[in-house]
Subunit: 252 residues, 2 copies
């Protein structure tokens, strides 16, 4: 394995172990790690899959992950496999599919939390422009609680071309924009493929992308403090979609 | 000013300056800070309010906030004023009022993001049990983007007594619980005072609190990856309430 990255934290490592596609180099467990159910599960899964695990001094883990949030376990794994947009579109042809594009979202904690919400909401992919945003790093993996292993992460060079390609393939383009006329709950998300574009917290979505939107939606606020965290804003819109879908299915 | 705390980041400081109730000691601005619109606004507000500001070497700011997220400006201010629950209830008597109680939410980033969503959603207070959770620190202030200045933060010793007191004062108790029978959107939030209880991500809400709930609600998931970040979960429920209120007011 030439390139490796690290992931840390018990849940993130368990999720990665349960994903057939993640390739492990080895797992380092602290000598002092409490032998709790999750550490036991990590050891068991590693044994089943023939992955080396080593007990090391806690200081060794601290030198790899200096913020001390490793919870006594770090895995060296192959970097996440990024999908190509064509590959993604092809994979989901013939089914309803939805994807989120992050335009300039640069905080790793937000990207991780967004990926986590996407997986919970049944979103099939997250598009990250390679020049505007963070790629998947250890903080993203940890904050996502392992969700990166359950969704296609698509890296694109040009978000504009990506949106155009999605439009050609029958995806409707929804942009979150706090100047929008419509509230996010006024759209029926349930019967279409869609790509939801979320912008950076202060800058918003770039104009070239906004122009391509079929729908612009805003989240109404009850005060003048008009400033939701971007991962919360994403969750609010995605779970409006989930609510609509659940209501529809209950009606049938 | 005996006790001081620090807040950092341009938005957090602007929000605090705009709040009549926050008492400043002084503001430190980095020599190298770009003279952008927000730094100018901070200087202008400080002059108006007679607050001392000093230009200092960036290293000085780094020594106060070693993570380097201060954006070139740090303020020394009096610690936030915590409200007493009785005081809060009295203040909002005669109007519809809602409040969020955080039961064991320990991550400062999550607490900050939750306070931010609460302010956007018109929630009047956030209750933090002094023994189970984080109190307001610099990270909370920064992550909240200054929202702590726009909401009552209520510190209580016993969350159970707090809930009982709210019940006696006509607040309905809603608990987020992923074992609940009802989906979060099945409740009409618009015509009542309510307290929404959110628990820690893994442990959930303590049993003694759950027993006091009038409604238990869950957020339905579209996959088995049943693990939303607690700040996202809070935002989803609060903005269901906001949507209901907006829909109702449009109907009138």
């Amino acid at each position: 394995m030439k390139d490796t990255t690290i992931i840390y934290g018990k849940n993130a490592i368990i999720e990665a172990l349960e994903n057939e596609e993640r390739e492990f180099n080895k797992i380092l467990i602290s000598n002092n790690a409490r032998a709790d159910a999750k550490i036991e599960q990590i050891k068991k899964l590693a044994l089943q899959k023939g992955i080396v695990f080593q007990f090391v001094a806690k200081e060794k883990l601290n030198s790899i992950e200096p913020d001390g949030r490793h919870q006594g376990v770090i895995a060296q794994i192959a970097p996440i496999k990024y999908y190509d947009l064509d590959e993604f579109i092809e994979k989901h042809k013939g089914e309803l599919s939805s994807v989120v594009l992050l335009d300039g979202v640069e905080d790793s904690h937000n990207v991780g939390a967004i990926i986590r919400s996407c997986v919970c909401a049944g979103i099939k992919g997250v598009i990250i422009p390679s020049r505007r945003g963070v790629l998947i790093n250890s903080t993203v993996e940890k904050t996502s609680a392992g969700a990166t292993s359950h969704i296609s992460i698509i890296k694109v060079n040009s978000p504009v071309s990506a949106i155009q390609k999605l439009k050609e393939n029958n995806y409707w383009v929804i942009a979150s924009d706090h100047h929008a006329e419509h509230n996010h709950y006024e759209i029926d998300y349930t019967d279409m493929n869609f790509v939801l574009i979320m912008g950076a917290e202060h800058a918003g979505i770039s104009k070239s992308l906004l122009k391509l939107a079929d729908y612009k939606v805003k989240i109404p606020m009850l005060t003048n403090f008009n400033s939701l965290n971007v991962s919360n804003a994403t969750a609010i819109i995605l779970f409006e979609y989930v609510s609509q879908l659940c209501k529809k299915n209950n009606k049938k």
